[in-house]
Amino acid sequence: MQRQPAVEVVGLVKRYGAKTAVDRLDLTVGEGTVTAVLGPNGAGKTTTVETCEGYRRPDGGSVRILGLDPVADNAALRPRIGVMLQSGGVYPGARAEEMLRHTARLHAQPVDVDLLIERLGLESCGRTTYRRLSGGQQQRLALAMAVVGRPELLFLDEPTAGLDPQARHATWDLVRELRSDGATIVLTTHFMDEAEELADDVSVIDRGRVIARGTPEELCRGGAENTLRFSGRPGLDLASLLKALPADTAAAEITPGSYRIEGKVNPQLLATVTSWCAQHGVMPDRLAVERRTLEDVFLELTGRELRG
């Protein structure tokens, strides 16, 4: 029997006044997977996630979370999900450890609080009140509060925004462990590397719609238009190089001494280029095969900067 998806959003529409924040959006999240919802600020990521969490009533379409309606079945759903809001959510005067212990007390079988504090590097600020925590510490506390109740499904809204590299990697490790222990995770991000590192599935959204979805590999592979770069002496005879390469390959000297070859980059092409260089007495310095990143994919799809 096919198991039902953890999240099933079909044709979701959400308007704020005259503005359509989410426009016929579809999102399916398989049980036990990590799905990244990737998009620039204002794309509709938070609105989508908050509709799944039951905070917003859809203006159109349907939303099923763990088979339940997030608004009508809210009471049954809340104990089963873990929520990390984009910001806030803690009493300004509450101490970090106090708030985490309190959140644990609202659940039947919480994770060991001390372990979670250690895992997220919050030992040094357990007695510090929320308002005195750094932005990164506040983020990690919010993540810990989402995790502590041992939810089946987690919604993490920009979990690593404002984190330093160590804290970011600690967060990534935790997400990976949650996944391998059987939880389902939906996270929003505008960091490409985060989606590539963590996600089984990526939905790229812009202006309230999904404009691409797939595994990170699928999205990056798209068209196999890859790039090879190398440096050498300026003014190489590229016409002679192109004669040796397949017909649909392009070559250009971007800046003097810096070359770019675009086409189907495979071992044959690489061998052809290096042997051509050997024949011409050129040392191909800084030779590199470039793979498309999600960032390239996004720019191609939208023509816009992701961080816009």
Partner: protein, 256 residues
Amino acid sequence: MRATGTFAPRPGAAPLPRMIRAQTALETRMLLRNGEQLLLTIVIPSMLLVLFSAVAIVDTGGGERVDFLAPGLLALAVMSTAFTGQAIATGFERRYGVLKRLGASPLPRWALMTAKTGSVLVTEALQVALLTVIALALGWSPHGNPLAVLLLIVLGTAAFSGLGLLMAGTLRAEATLAAANLVFVLLLLAGGVIVPLDRFPEGVRSFLELLPISALSDGLREVLQHGAGMPWGDVGVLALWSVVGLAAAARFFRWE
């Protein structure tokens, strides 16, 4: 077979009584840890009781000044916690997303409101104990039926909670802060707390008597100073404010 990892899903809400107890304890700790709240709920009522009892600043009519003042400051204590303190705290909890985040936790909303009421009642018990000790030290001799006092305080708490939550759930946090403090000062002066209402002109006075603070201070005074039975008029005014305030709060309160 169940997964066995550290984070293997084992979802579920804690039993309701445990959640409500934990939430009440947390809300009470937040309140008692907050300097401004302590000033409002503990320092100001105690200071006013001592100051106005010791020095004849206001003519409180015949008898010991403390016999007039103690019931008024008990009424002020109830207002400071149930209305002013609760409005400001809840307003900022709404602004900082605390209410929103709790809305995604297993704690039902009604249980959160129950916990808030519990923490208000715990604080009031501390206030009443402290003010009683101070007043007795100043020579206070209370009369009347303790059950009538309890009923007045419970109704006053309900009325002020409704109005405070209405304010916290509809205005911006800064506006709630300003308005709640302003109302506190105005009602302190014009609600029969330290200034007898018969100092005001007749027309103004009959309006002021309908305020919840006046009904509470007058009712407590009737019982504690004059040893009257149940002051039904004041009880009625407070009951009406409770119904109107709580209904309006339930209708208009916005969680985000």
